[in-house]
Amino acid sequence: MKKTTMATIWLDGCSGCHMSFLDIDERILELAQRLEITYSPLVDTKSYPDHVDVAVIEGAVSTDEDIIKLKKIRSKTGLIVALGDCAVTGNVPSMRNNFQVGDVLDRAYVENAARQPGRPHEMLPSLLEKVKPVHDYVKVDVHVPGCPPPADAIYYVLSEILEGRNPDPIQMTRFGR
């Protein structure tokens, strides 16, 4: 049987959702029988494959690069899962929305810089005016709130998808969990 291909994406988040995914422990072996991770911070592929069955997205949308990535992912992916509060609501990254982008950059790169204070001006994606959830830019098929979502909820969601069912994880996790 052909394995279901899966990508995991890391936008503006702390990687805690990826950690929680790894927290499914030995059940990952069972999933690996039927799933193949073809693109992820956890594997070495540099470019997004032409087709992926399931993309699991952690993190909020914070930069112009995030938007470009998302549009590309949406066009090459079957099912998109927004994993965790940052992807679903904006969560902690969105707390900067109450400030001007310039002030945020100054806080990090000028006021609190021990050496060479100054805003970054090359090689880095530029911050958007507002941090927003993934569904503000592309259609999301499954929302999994939680900070991070518990490993059991992630395992449940992936198992249901592999069975061809539509997961409804809200009884296993919640905003802020």
């Binding site: 509060d85 969560n91 929305n97 569904h135 999301v140 709130p145 919640r174 802020g176």
Partner: protein
């Protein structure tokens, strides 16, 4: 009650035959019969105001949805507390509340002890389809015991009612209209400078979210204690009789 004869009405809630005193609300009768209608602004012991609209129910013969907390029973009434339509409206209400302020559950002192969060789980709200407003909100930490964080306020008015009705201080009230409404102390002076606040903390403990909290609490530490409310209400009722 001045009238000695108690009038009893019979009605149906979710297909069940129930009876009630004529002056009882649909919500009270449902609760007595183990039918759990979602509520947010309602709290037993405070005057119901029908502010949040989560307890909306359908009534046969009426195309209006009515708030169960302020609608009294009628003879022969047929009430439905669950339907696709009701669930759709209730979810919409919750999503609007989430989008109106900055509810960052993960870093909220009330995480895990929050009525808004619990309702999201109960009603199956797993994302907010409306754009977040991200308003710039005030955090008033001028009081030596308590903090008011407008980022988390849902304008249920429980603080306003408990302060006026039970404590008798009426420190809290509403200011502004619509989405601009805020709860304020005295004439919008900092809480710490309020002349009327008795520092009793009732407002903090009836607040459904992390909008009113005790100072010094960290993430997920602010569990509310509401046991006092039914007791105080009972005492007051006995005094009045």
């Amino acid at each position: 009650m001045s009238d000695q004869t108690v009038s009893i009405k019979t009605l149906k809630i979710d297909g069940r035959d129930v009876s009630a005193r004529a002056d009882e609300t649909i919500l009270a009768v449902a609760q007595q019969n183990g039918i759990d209608i979602p509520t947010l602004c309602h709290l037993d012991g405070l005057t119901p105001v029908g502010a949040c609209r989560l307890c909306l129910v359908e009534i046969a013969g009426s195309n209006k949805l009515l708030p169960a907390c302020v609608t009294t029973v009628r003879e022969g009434m047929e009430v439905f507390t669950e339907s696709e339509k009701l669930n759709r409206y209730r979810k919409m209400i919750l999503e609007l509340l989430f989008s109106e302020r900055n509810h960052i559950c993960a870093v909220c002192v009330s995480n895990g002890h929050c009525d808004l969060q619990d309702l999201a789980v109960r009603l199956g709200v797993d994302f907010i389809r409306y754009p977040y407003l991200h308003p710039v909100e005030k955090v008033d930490a001028s009081h030596d015991r308590f903090v008011q964080d407008d980022n988390r306020c849902v304008l249920c008015g429980r603080c306003v009612r408990v302060c006026g009705e039970l404590e008798g201080a009426h420190t809290w009230d509403f200011m502004g209209r619509g989405v601009q409404t805020r709860v304020i102390t005295d004439l919008d002076t900092p809480w710490g400078e309020s002349d009327s606040c008795t520092r009793c903390g009732k407002c903090v403990h009836v607040c459904p979210t992390g909008a009113l909290i005790e100072k010094g609490r960290s993430v997920a530490e602010m569990a509310k204690r509401r046991q006092f409310l039914p007791y105080l209400t009972l005492m007051r009722q006995e005094d009045q009789q």
